[in-house]
Amino acid sequence: MLGFILKRLGLALLVALTVSFISFSLLYLSGDPATAIAGESANAQDVQAIRELYGFDRPMLVQYFDWLWNALRFDFGQSYYFKLPVADLIADRLGVTMRLGLAAISFALIVAIPLGVVAAMRPNSLIDKLALFLSVAGQAMPSFWFALVLISVFSIKLGLVPASGSTSWRHFILPTVVLGYYAMPAIMRLTRAGMLEVLSSDYIRTARAKGASEGRVMFRHALRNAIIPVVSLAAVQMGFMLGGSIVVESIFALHGAGFLAWESISRNDLPTVQALILVFSMFYIVFTLLADIVNAWLDPRMRAA
């Protein structure tokens, strides 16, 4: 098991290094960074001064290692727009996004897994069809529209929950539902498909032949095996949620990292964008690693891999 974890850890580091290089290169892919900082009205002299000030005149590889070294110490430089350290900006915003992401994935898992299990236990029943409908609707409906529907019903008409802001847990209810709802269909369908496959397997028949109760068969014997691919999927979705909460954060005026990313992209604030890409990617890598470890614990055959 330890060998397996070390192997995966090494792989994760390699991926992280690659991602860091890509996000660093972004600075150059989008044109001359000195010109971008200096602004449109600057003359050639100013641009040159900025180039030297920021060290853009050095070889690219040197700049990369310099940047990476700083990034390792959580120093991502100054935001072009806010004129503040990028690290402080992100630290300030990440809490909201993390809270939203964790709440949303938990919500999605708590609803989608039981729904998938029930759908698999009674295929083609009413509840199975309802679950299918929910998942089709979930994929067809744009999240901004769903968010607006929820706001108009639960905030405006019924006045149950606030529509915007991030000051209390109640502010997170609607954004959690919207963001989590997006992840539900895939989790539900993967759970259902996995359960259907596992339930027709020989070891489930063995469990019944031993005299195990239906609940025990479903959860201890079937779900334990069916959940394995769902863990990986949930990790991927959690990664998407952190980066992809841009729409949800802006609709609900949650000033999280997603919102910051949106602002920074539109303002050409490259150090911030760079750092956000790196941070989101690192989370993504960490979640995938965690998923691998959980899976190795769930599935003994994987530990040897």
Binding site: Y203, R205, A212, E214
Partner: protein, 332 residues
């Protein structure tokens, strides 16, 4: 012989399919008593697995089961609640399957799975259950039992997994063990070992054994009673020596002709290679189900053919009063 522990009378299994109803199993009668071995033989698809799953109450909800009698130690299995069935399964009646490679849960250790089988029916601690699990592994001939308990199924060979399945089935000391082609998926050398083991254990534990097999050589060695199935029907049943000495049904004789017997020149076909195909079992059947392949069919075989008693315990589903010998006399 003591009272039968399992009694099956006129068992039928119907499966609704798009084209109508598949009458997969019809008119199955048999008994097994404690300490007795009943072998069920028949080519694949003849309903042997369905029949044993029906006894265990392990058929899916899509399959309709009915019987004139289906009782285990006096308990009417048709009236038993789910809870009563659960209390019997794995405890007083146990089953092992044809597919040892896939019949154990890949997520749990051998020890966990053996202990679970015991703890579902006995109030006993996990530690004590594991001790008993190790005893059972030794009983089925597994060495280094303690370390095997900590292994996962994928670390064991097919033969070992089948031994584990046998240990698991026996851990509550059942009165009845059903072994559904327990050796078909194994290497030939392992097959003999596993069979020997099952027979030894049946003697040692005094339980009733239903052994489903393709292998008539095995039947000859271990069976007290034989039930021959064809296309979902019981065509002949009786004491083993009777069936081997006096096979009455043309299908049984076809099967027996397939095994080489010393001193007999006829080299028969292998089991399942009697010419012809099994008719569809969808919709109502009329007449003898074997008549398309039967060398002794007569026009009257299209009528109803009930199961008749030829001699004590020897029963037959064929129109000819005493099987072939009489049939030969008639045609002579």
């Amino acid at each position: 012989m003591s009272e039968p522990i399992l009694k099956v009378r006129d068992l039928r299994l119907d499966i609704p399919v798009p084209a109508g109803t598949l009458h997969a199993v019809r008119g199955i009668d048999f008994d097994v008593a404690p300490g007795e071995t009943l072998c069920i033989v028949g080519e694949s698809g003849s309903g042997k697995s369905l029949t044993s799953l029906a006894v265990m109450g392990l058929l899916g909800s899509a399959i309709r089961r009915s019987a004139a009698e289906l009782s285990f130690d006096g308990i009417d299995l048709q009236k038993a609640s789910r809870r009563q069935m659960r209390a019997l399964r794995g405890n007083r009646m146990a089953m092992i399957f044809q597919e040892p490679m896939t019949s154990l849960n890949p997520a749990y250790t051998i020890g966990d799975q053996l202990a679970e089988a015991l703890r579902l029916h006995r109030p006993i601690s996990k530690g004590d259950a594991l001790k008993r699990a190790a005893d059972l592994l030794r009983l089925v001939g597994i060495t280094a039992a303690e370390s095997r308990l900590r292994q996962f199924p994928h670390q064991l060979s097919g033969g070992l997994r089948q031994r584990v399945m046998i240990a698991m089935a026996l851990i509550c000391e059942p009165d009845l063990l059903i072994a559904d082609e327990p050796t078909t998926a194994l290497d030939v050398t392992i097959q003999a070992q596993i069979l020997r083991l099952l027979v030894d254990l049946r003697e040692k534990l005094g339980m009733a054994l239903i052994l489903i097999t393709h292998d008539l050589g095995v039947v000859g060695r271990v069976a007290d009673k034989v039930a021959v199935m064809y296309a979902g029907e019981l065509v002949e049943t009786g004491p083993a020596e009777q069936i081997f000495r006096n096979p009455a049904h043309p299908y049984t004789r076809g099967l027996l002709d397939c095994i080489p017997v010393p001193g007999r020149i006829t080299r028969g076909q292998r089991l399942g290679t009697i010419p012809g195909i099994v008719p569809s079992l969808i919709g109502r059947q009329a007449g003898c189900i074997f008549r398309d392949r039967c060398p002794e069919a007569i026009p009257a075989c299209t009528g109803d053919i009930p199961l008749r008693e030829l001699a004590r315990g020897h029963r037959l589903r064929c129109i000819h009063p005493q099987g072939r010998r009489i049939a030969e006399e008639i045609s002579a």
